[in-house]
């Protein structure tokens, strides 16, 4: 035990000596050739077919196959596995690159109704998808000032026409503020959904951004103006070191407000953030093995005075920023964690003035390199990417060779990418879904929604349509709330819809408003959409006279028409769905193509990955 403590203290000291990390990428170019060779070896060792490997890669390293995007299927010429390896590595190399396409698209959506008396501010849905924290905050403050001034004028007037006019103006302002508040909050949700829908195949950057955003969950209901670009901050730092990411999160106003650390000061300590920091963000320990209740108070004291300030870099532009308030910091010597059964003591000496912020940074560095943090995050990443978390895998991930002193996140991702557990199909047969040769896991609701829209080749321009906006708003009732999950745990890894009885209704809901013209499938070299697609299906139904022909038809559609490989069992359900669709086509109560989509995407094979 003594040797372990000394080793840990030495490791922490070495790490702290170079606390300014270099710019990091998830895949530095110098490492690419060796990683490519390892990845290719794993792909070639798999017993799965190239088509299965493509779908598996898209499911595990992204949000499912987007059938109309590059690399959806193995190429007909050249080495398919080399092409897949190169695509995966391209996406990994660009993982921390912010894609602004979805933001711009959402920001271009025009609101159909503008409330009377509104200021010329945000009156469009998802206007704030392209906004930043400074913009959202400045906008709300402007409302606050206008409303306060107007209220004074109203109160000073006697009852009469002039007062009524001002009151009407005030009501309009209030309505606009309401819209703005809702839009800022909803933008955080739709940003997550749209990025998942629009991301490339095997887009590991989109997947990891969502993973870390959920791990460091904030609720945009509470943090509102501060959460609008929180995801972008995370994406920019998720390829560096964990201590850097952890510190950036701790200093971000969205987290400071969400878990109340912005108000914590000497003599009035708030423990909320400190508790979740250890229970969820780092140790993952809810059994008090590595810390005790006094350590929760102690950590909160170390982080007291960490709050928010409002800078004004240019007149009229207000910018919320992190600020350390030395006079509000509980600057006493503290020894933490020594009383816990497995605790490794950390002593923090007082540091006067602005430099006192280093005490908190030292604490976060300690947490980022702690063995419990390593095991917690290695386990979560393993369950996300591989679907399971074998002890040996966790041990290796948590070792110094992989984790590094401060949590080398890029190296950890690369470690998982070339693990045989991810690619070698023979390692785990799942008897619950015959034919599957990987560890299968349920998709989360976000993964289900994103992969469904991707499977039917929903075009980018769909996001600019009112039906998409309405559908996204309606997803609240389905509990799909990335960016709006109240508890600090974030949403669970798995399909919560399965247990809540929503599994049968999500697909019809998701496609209820989608015009059939927005759905298109390929039939060989021909693109079918709308009426042509429905006619094609009707002809297929009439051309399948017996059960064998009907099953063959289903398999053909699954593998070729919708180009969604590996959807084996859907072939049994596709033909009945087509027959039903053909019947319904007569009265047009349900667009046949939607019926087909429901049957395909509600299948158990699609619900898992």
């Amino acid at each position: 035990m003594r040797a372990r403590e000394l080793l840990f203290a030495l490791t922490s000291a070495l790490f702290l000596s170079h606390a300014t990390p270099a710019e990091a990428q998830c895949l530095p170019s110098a490492l690419r050739p060796a990683l490519r060779a390892q990845l290719l070896a794993q792909l070639r060792a798999s017993r799965a077919t190239p088509a299965e490997l493509y779908r598996h890669a898209h499911d595990r390293l992204g949000f499912g196959t987007a059938t109309h995007r590059a690399g959806a299927l193995p190429p007909t010429t050249g080495d398919a596995l080399e092409a897949l390896a190169d695509r995966i590595l391209d996406e990994l190399a660009a993982a921390d690159t912010i894609h602004t396409g979805a933001d711009n698209l959402l920001a271009a959506i025009a609101r159909t109704s503008t409330p009377a008396g509104a200021l010329d501010l945000s009156t469009r849905p998802y206007h704030h998808a392209a906004s930043d924290m400074s913009g959202s905050y400045s906008e709300l403050i402007r409302y606050s000032r206008e409303m306060t001034t107007l209220r004074r004028q109203i109160d000073a007037l006697p009852p009469g026409a002039q007062r009524d006019r001002l009151q009407a103006r005030y009501d309009g302002l209030r309505r606009s503020a309401q819209i703005t508040r809702s839009d800022i909050r909803d933008s955080a949700v739709v940003r997550a959904v749209s990025h998942a829908v629009l991301s490339s195949n095997a887009d590991v950057g989109a997947l990891l951004t969502e993973f870390w955003s959920n791990h460091f969950n904030v609720d945009s209901e509470k943090s509102t103006w501060a959460s609008v670009d929180y995801r972008k901050m995370i994406q920019r730092r998720m390829c560096g070191r964990l201590d850097t990411l952890l510190t950036a999160v701790a200093k971000h106003p969205a987290m400071a407000i969400y878990l109340d650390n912005f108000r914590s000061r000497v003599g009035a300590i708030n423990e909320n953030y400190a508790r979740e920091l250890m229970e969820l963000h780092t140790f993952g320990d809810d059994l008090y093995r590595y810390y005790q209740q006094p350590d929760v108070v102690g950590v909160a004291r170390v982080l007291s005075g960490w709050s928010v300030a409002f800078d004004e870099p240019t007149p009229g532009v207000l910018r919320p920023v992190f600020r350390f308030y030395p006079g509000a910091h509980d600057n006493v010597q503290l020894t933490l964690f020594g009383g816990a059964p497995r605790g490794v003591p950390l002593t923090l000496a007082p540091i006067a003035g602005d430099a006192g912020v280093r005490r908190g940074e030292q604490l976060l560095a300690y947490l980022a390199s702690h063995v419990a943090t390593r095991r917690n995050l290695c386990g979560k990443l393993s369950r996300k990417l591989i679907g399971d978390a074998p002890v040996a895998l966790i041990d290796e991930c948590a070792s110094d060779a992989v984790w590094g002193a401060g949590g080398d996140l890029g190296n950890i991702y690369r470690f998982f990418l070339v693990r045989p557990e991810l690619w070698q199909a023979s390692l785990a047969d799942d008897t619950r879904v015959p034919g599957h040769r990987y560890v299968m896991k349920d998709k989360t609701p976000l993964e289900l929604v994103a992969s469904a829209y991707r499977a039917v080749a929903l075009p980018n321009t769909a996001l600019n349509q009112p039906w998409f906006v309405n559908t996204m708003n309606g997803l609240r009732s389905f509990g799909l709330l990335p960016g709006r999950t109240p508890p600090p745990t974030g949403y669970p890894e798995g399909n919560v819809w399965a247990s809540s009885g929503l599994l049968l209704t999500w697909s019809p809901y998701l496609f209820a408003r989608v015009p059939t013209d927005a759905l298109w499938f390929r039939n060989g070299a021909t693109t079918l959409r709308g009426a042509a697609l429905e006619a094609h299906f009707a002809a297929l139904v009439r051309a399948a006279p017996d059960a064998a022909a009907q099953r063959a038809l289903g398999a053909t559609i699954a593998d070729q028409v919708v180009r969604y490989p590996g959807l084996r069992l859907a072939s049994d359900t596709i033909y009945p769905a087509l027959v039903e669709a053909d019947t319904l086509r007569a009265d047009r109560s349900v667009a046949p193509v939607r019926s087909y989509v429901h049957a395909l995407l509600a299948h158990g094979d699609f619900l898992r990955k």
Binding site: T148, T224, F262, V308, N331, A352
Partner: protein, 95 residues
């Protein structure tokens, strides 16, 4: 009226600094913290001209006076809380 009180509170936070806090160097971990800056927050007294953040306090260099820090943090805390209450007051927009 609650909304008025909320927005009024944005600029009414004040801290009365009555003495300096001595340096806490080598203070035992469990020693009680002695605070000599008394915080007094007055809410909802009168309407104000505008409801802005305490920009000057935030952008100023750190003061040697710990009470100035506490006062600035009090103002920021009140401001964030009041803005949150304002947003809660204006309500949610149903699509």
């Amino acid at each position: 009226m609650r909304l008025l009180m909320t927005v009024s509170a944005l600029a009414l936070a004040s801290v009365a600094c009555v003495a300096e806090v001595p340096p806490a160097v080598d203070t035992p971990a469990e020693a009680p913290v002695v605070r000599r800056c008394e915080s007094t927050v007055v809410r909802g007294a009168e309407p104000i001209e505008h409801a802005g953040p305490p920009v000057a306090a935030a952008s100023a260099a750190t003061s040697a006076d710990p009470c100035a820090d506490l006062r600035a943090l009090d103002e920021v805390t009140e401001h964030i809380d009041a803005l949150g209450e304002l947003l809660e007051e204006v309500g949610d927009e149903s699509p």
